[in-house]
Symmetry: C2
Subunit: 207 residues, 2 copies
């Protein structure tokens, strides 16, 4: 059968020193992405930044894309941890409180590593193996959909799929835009206002 280009790590690190190498590579990739941007992130430069030879890099990652995927996956793992925690708590709360919590979590998630978030959003092309990167959104969809199902009596008669689409994208867009273009809105005094507005928007729509 046709073997499509790999994007997964080539080999599993078995000894401690190789785990250190792999870690240094991911760390270096993230640093270079943030500091220099995507197209300065050549494999040679990443290896150099990591203090690892180019040969070792290719022992663990088959190509540059795979390294970026690794960085993205790590970032998404962190984001989803925040989202999951919020959704778990919100499940047991009344809609008004829960939605506010979810919005706050979205803002917090976007603030985890805004510089990395920016470069991933603005510079990393959604091509090849990166096309499916929005897959992490799918878990978001699933979780929010379940959340709505659990609060059927508190919302109007809704097409849950459509409502999920609307809410998830709205919350994501507002926090995203704030992080990328309106840092003033995210200052510690102002961030509450953004949360208020987004919550109002979503709650007004759901009820």
């Amino acid at each position: 059968m046709a073997t499509r280009p790999l994007t997964k790590p080539r080999k599993q690190a078995a000894q401690e020193r190789s785990r250190v190498t792999v870690d240094a590579l991911i760390e270096a990739t993230a640093r270079i992405l943030i500091r220099d941007g995507f197209d300065k992130a050549s494999t040679n430069r990443i290896a150099g930044e990591a203090g690892v030879s180019i040969g070792s890099l290719y022992q663990y990652y088959p190509n540059k894309e795979a390294l970026v995927v690794a960085v993205i996956e790590r970032h998404n793992r962190d984001l989803m941890a925040v989202a999951r925690a919020a959704l778990t708590k919100a499940a047991a709360e009344p809609l008004e409180v829960g939605v506010r919590r979810l919005v706050a979590a979205a803002i917090a998630a976007h603030r985890l590593d805004p510089n990395l978030h920016r470069v991933l959003a603005e510079q990393v092309p959604r091509t090849g193996a990166l096309e499916g990167v929005e897959a992490f959104n799918q878990e978001n969809y699933r979780l929010f959909h379940a959340y709505l199902e659990g609060h059927r009596e508190e919302v109007r008669d809704l097409d849950l799929d459509l409502a999920t689409f609307v809410c998830v994208n709205t919350i994501e867009a507002l926090t995203h835009a704030a992080v990328l273009h309106r840092p003033d809105i995210l200052s510690d005094q102002a961030v509450g206002t953004l949360g208020d507005e987004a919550s109002r928007l979503v709650l007004g729509y759901l009820r």
Copy 2:
């Protein structure tokens, strides 16, 4: 003084044949972006697709980026034409009708050339001269802000800047996400529903 790398066309086309050349280049750039993606869009390939020599390409555009800028500007011009027309009409209408019109216009704008829109959104890195591409949004902001000012009595007491941020980004995000990830929502039967939902969302927020 330090001259930063040009991004504007190098010379103005003076004769008819050169205007044809420039046009062919932009057209070819857009075609290749859509058909093959951003990183297959080398200057040599663009020149070939346009039926123009590589030397001629560099008579008019100093680098690849400038060509992409030209494509984006043409696309944005078309989008803004739709948006401006809608806002002009909406200005004289009651909020309920006007917002629906604006939402419909946003959807229509995104459907003008969805394939180009997708590649610009997903693959073209916001780097160098492309960083300021969101500037076209600024006109959108201004126009919508003015629209809200003209309907002060129909909305609740609002921070107009913040409300503009919320509404513009919300409408943009929903239409954008629909074009990129949910073509089903944009089918001719379903597109009305999206308009309904987005309008409801925004209206509920404004009043």
